[in-house]
């Protein structure tokens, strides 16, 4: 017990306790200063459902999750293939792909925000030089385009992890198998889908599930670039829950949304456990 005791203690105190606290708070009536006034029954949940900004937020969260994960996975297949190919500059590519993964997301998001600044940012300048635009373009200020920009940035920062997982998967495939697919006269494309991809599938699924959790929990990108605005136009449930709790000071309502988020992550976690080989470590 002294061996695993400290680890257990930390997990119980700083991971499980907050979970329990979150559930309790969602059923409490809480004052603006954070004091518990009493039980609220399902009032917080009712208030959440009555919140007029909820449905838009839920819809956007679904789009955020599906679009970012789907495009990330679709793009990381060729990217991993490219990272695995032999050519001059491969190391440069591999290291460049790591950068958005290693760098603080806050800094990356801040840089994009500055690049996209309608007056002082380089993006407008590029568009003007390419004669695509002739006046300042404000992608982040326009609710029609700001969410699309967030999706794109979300994809660029998700790609490193998924493509590195797929690269590891590719490297685990014996060379002979890859070569055999070409010798047989199968075209590279056919060979890829018939031989390489099926072998890559476990890595692909694990990457997709873990990436889904990252994307669902993602906070800094949206928060730094738009704060979920204009108004609530670019909020996902993560940033929305933050706003309701720490800006609107409605801890109870926010907790009820966070409970919903908890169950979404729980589903992904169960998928992950099913796919992962944690049992292998478990069995000696």
């Amino acid at each position: 017990m002294p061996w695993i005791g400290p680890a257990l203690l930390l997990i119980f105190v700083f991971v499980l306790w907050p979970v329990i606290e979150l559930f309790l708070v969602s059923f409490r009536e809480i004052s603006v200063s954070g004091l518990i006034k009493g039980w609220a029954g399902a009032d917080n949940y009712r208030a959440l459902l009555d919140n007029s900004d909820l449905s838009g937020t839920l819809k956007r969260t679904a789009i955020w999750l599906v679009v970012v994960v789907a495009l990330t996975m679709a793009l990381s297949l060729p990217l991993a293939q490219l990272m695995n190919a032999r050519f001059r500059g491969r190391r440069f590519l591999r290291y460049s792909v790591i950068v958005p993964w290693a760098a603080s997301l806050v800094i990356t998001a801040t840089s994009w925000k500055w690049i996209l600044d309608p007056y002082f940012g380089i993006f407008t300048r590029i568009l003007v030089d390419l004669r695509i635009a002739d006046e300042p373009v404000d992608l982040l200020g326009d609710p029609r385009t700001s969410f699309i920009v967030l999706l794109a940035v979300g994809i660029t920062v998700s790609l490193p992890f998924t493509s590195y997982v797929l690269l590891a998967g590719l490297q685990a495939i014996p060379k002979e198998i890859m070569e055999a697919s070409l010798v047989d006269g199968a075209s590279a494309w056919k060979g890829y889908w018939a031989i390489t991809f099926p072998l890559l599938r476990p890595a692909f699924l694990v990457a997709a599930v873990i990436n889904s959790v990252y994307v669902f929990n993602s906070f800094p990108i949206i928060w730094v670039m738009t704060k979920g605005g204009p108004a609530y136009e670019t909020d996902t449930t993560t940033t929305f829950a933050y706003k309701v709790a720490f800006r609107d000071q409605d801890i109870g309502q926010s907790a009820s949304l966070a409970v919903g988020n908890f169950f979404v992550i729980l589903i992904f976690t169960m998928l992950f456990l099913k796919l992962s080989k944690w049992k292998e470590l478990d069995q000696q």
Binding site: F14, P18, S104, T238, I265, L273
Partner: protein, 288 residues
């Protein structure tokens, strides 16, 4: 096939493969540039003098290169203070993380105790629950302990949520050490703790370094918890401090980005140094 025919076809393939490798290189370098574009743009701004920042339209490159911005940043914005806070939080998270994770990982790798499965399950589940989703619970709990706006609070939360990766990587390192080596030491009269300290620990050193670096980076880049809990600038890490500076009326973008680059470049180098082990640790070994 005649010799000439063979030579012809050989020539053709070598021409083909050269074309292929040039195309690959060009594609690879273009893609690489897309990934580092925001950081290159940041560097260009960081090197600009103040007068260039408000140019409309902006210039692609600085008119004069102000390398001094990387030193002036410590006076122009409270960057030194942010870095001090970041260092305190990351180093403490790293040290405590190792102290907690090493024995747990070793125990899990070497013993088949009754609660092994539930323990591993619990550890893996924490990998999925980022503090973002539990923010309200964390905030309220830390208020009870009076740990809001303290280093200790941030450090403990960081350590707890990074345990999964550490335990996973470390136990796979311990498992790769043959049990026979430990048994030999045991027969020679070493106690269990001595065996662990003198034999297993040094052999697992690469794993310990990897884990330490990963925990350090995770704490270094952490944002949401610090943003919520560290309300006073004296406690804010750079991620929070710099992001709050962008909300001011006059933003010193050149210094902000000079600071940002100082904060991310060493981390990128560290990250590259542990790249080999990252995927295995983050996917709980299901890929590698």
């Amino acid at each position: 096939m005649t010799i000439t025919q063979i030579n012809k076809s050989r020539k053709k393939t070598s021409k083909n493969s050269r074309f292929k490798s040039i195309t690959l290189s060009l594609t690879g370098i273009t893609v690489a540039f897309l990934f580092i574009f925001p950081y290159v743009a940041m560097l260009s701004t960081a090197l600009k003098p103040k007068s260039d920042i408000t140019d409309m339209p902006p210039t692609y490159f600085p008119k004069s290169y102000e390398w001094g911005n990387f030193i002036k940043v410590f006076q122009e914005i409270p960057f030194g203070m942010y870095m001090r806070n970041t260092l305190i939080i990351s180093i403490a998270t790293m040290i405590i993380g190792i102290i907690v994770a090493v024995p747990a990982a070793y125990y899990v790798a070497r013993n088949n105790f009754r609660l092994r499965t539930p323990f591993l399950l619990l550890v893996l589940v924490t990998q999925m629950f980022s503090p973002t989703s539990l923010l309200i619970g964390i905030y309220r709990e830390l208020s009870i302990f009076n740990l809001v706006n303290t280093y200790q609070g941030l450090i403990l939360v960081n350590v707890s949520f990074n345990l999964a990766f550490s335990v996973w990587i470390l136990s796979s390192f311990f498992k790769s050490i043959p049990v026979e080596i430990e048994e030999a030491a045991f027969i020679d009269g070493a106690s269990r703790f001595q065996t662990f300290r003198k034999i297993s620990l040094p052999l697992a050193a690469p794993g310990i370094v990897t884990t330490a670096i990963f925990t350090f980076i995770a704490a270094w880049n952490e944002y949401v918890v610090a943003y919520t809990l560290a309300s006073s600038p004296e406690k804010q890490p750079f991620s929070v401090g710099l992001s709050l500076l962008t909300g001011l009326y006059e933003v010193k973008w050149n210094f902000l980005f000079a600071g940002s680059l100082i904060a991310i470049i060493p981390i990128i180098i560290l990250f590259i140094s542990i790249e080999k082990y990252l995927v295995g640790g983050l996917t709980a070994g299901s890929v590698k």
